[in-house]
Symmetry: C2
Subunit: 226 residues, 2 copies
């Protein structure tokens, strides 16, 4: 009997919001801006993504560290929070130490018979530190940053990078993301997508057809072995 | 004495959020979903813009009517609101009858010595109905839709359209928008931008340098004659 996903030769994971919890930075936000940590963390993440889209659409590229800094400055301004240079650096440094979601480690272990990779908006330096600080360096064969193609997800060029570097056709790559826009872009590009729906929100109405919706990464190993 | 803005030969206005209040649809949202009108209206607008960016970045184009419908369906789903086909059509039709902001008519009258145009994400049919229903058809020499270039703002192609059709160089066009991302895109493209800051929010941290920040369109006539 051939598994439904027997054609998958490698798994590529989105990093922020999929393997790592961007909202885990909320404690640092709260420590610096009491009572505003949650609002800041959410607006910061939202603007960070928005800026990747706007810059890409303007035909501009700046790496994710720069975009993340810009988004932080805007968010503090919009919320009326005074951001000193010291606080800015301290909060940004949190992106080097985001916490993996509780299901990340066990899932990666259960999937270690696959070639595993990351495909992320993060800059190479950010991703290197992130993975190393979490002690996950040995879990991945490759860590791909869109910095190599100088345009952000959901540009097809971002997803093509994974195919080129792994020497695989799009359907042979199982792509896992907790971000709806990323599932959309990857699905429409042709990767075999797994939507890790951590927040119980509907998928964007953009004709994405993920191969499977899961609610935690641990469901993935079961689905792939089934 | 030469005015600071003496080089401006035409004025192009963004439509949604600049001349017309997208939030004026809140009453219809509230009538259909009591207690949720405000939340729906805001999420709808936010997703509508997000979808224009995501589709453009994926290299896809669908007109603004389609995008607006998709954003409405997502927003109702995310808020747990049941959207029937009839309600969907009724709410969408509201985009044909958005209210001009209170300062729109007097400002257009005061600026009638300029060539006036609209440059909008809206589809040609949406813009035609919008302008006609507001009785503003005679105010504009031209109404440009990004539909002509099949990509949304802030793509440089959207702003180039205005230059091409008006046969003017970028700095000769005064572009007026209440949307930060639009001010950013137009500024970086090279239009002379006027940021109509209706909400008192900081401008996005994306290196836009508008020629002038105004808080209502009526300030524009004063600035241009000064």
């Amino acid at each position: 009997m051939t598994s439904r996903f027997g054609h998958i030769k490698a798994l590529a994971f989105d990093a922020y919001g999929t393997l790592f919890d961007t909202h885990s930075i909320v404690a640092a936000c709260e420590a610096n801006f009491p009572g505003k940590g949650d609002a800041l963390s959410r607006l910061w993440r939202s603007k960070q993504l928005e800026y990747t889209w706007l810059l890409s659409l303007m035909g501009k590229y700046e790496d994710f560290w720069s975009v993340t800094a810009r988004a932080l400055r805007f968010s503090c301004g919009a919320l009326g929070l005074k951001l000193t240079g010291t606080t800015e650096m301290a909060l940004l440094a949190g992106y080097y130490r985001l916490e993996p979601f509780p299901d990340t480690r066990p899932a990666l272990q259960a999937l270690s018979n696959y070639r595993l990779a990351i495909l992320s908006n993060g800059s190479p330096a950010m991703l290197h530190a992130l993975v190393a600080n979490a002690g996950l360096g040995s879990a991945f064969e490759k860590v791909f940053s869109v910095d190599a193609v100088k345009v952000y997800k959901p540009s097809p060029k971002a997803y093509q990078l994974t195919c080129d570097r792994l020497s695989l056709e799009p359907p042979q790559i199982g792509f896992v993301s907790g971000n709806s826009f990323d599932v959309t872009g990857a699905s429409r590009f042709g990767l075999t997508t797994f939507w890790c729906d951590r927040n119980g929100l509907p998928l964007d109405e953009l004709d994405a057809q993920p191969a499977l919706r899961i609610t935690s990464l641990e469901e993935l190993a079961k689905a792939l072995s089934g």
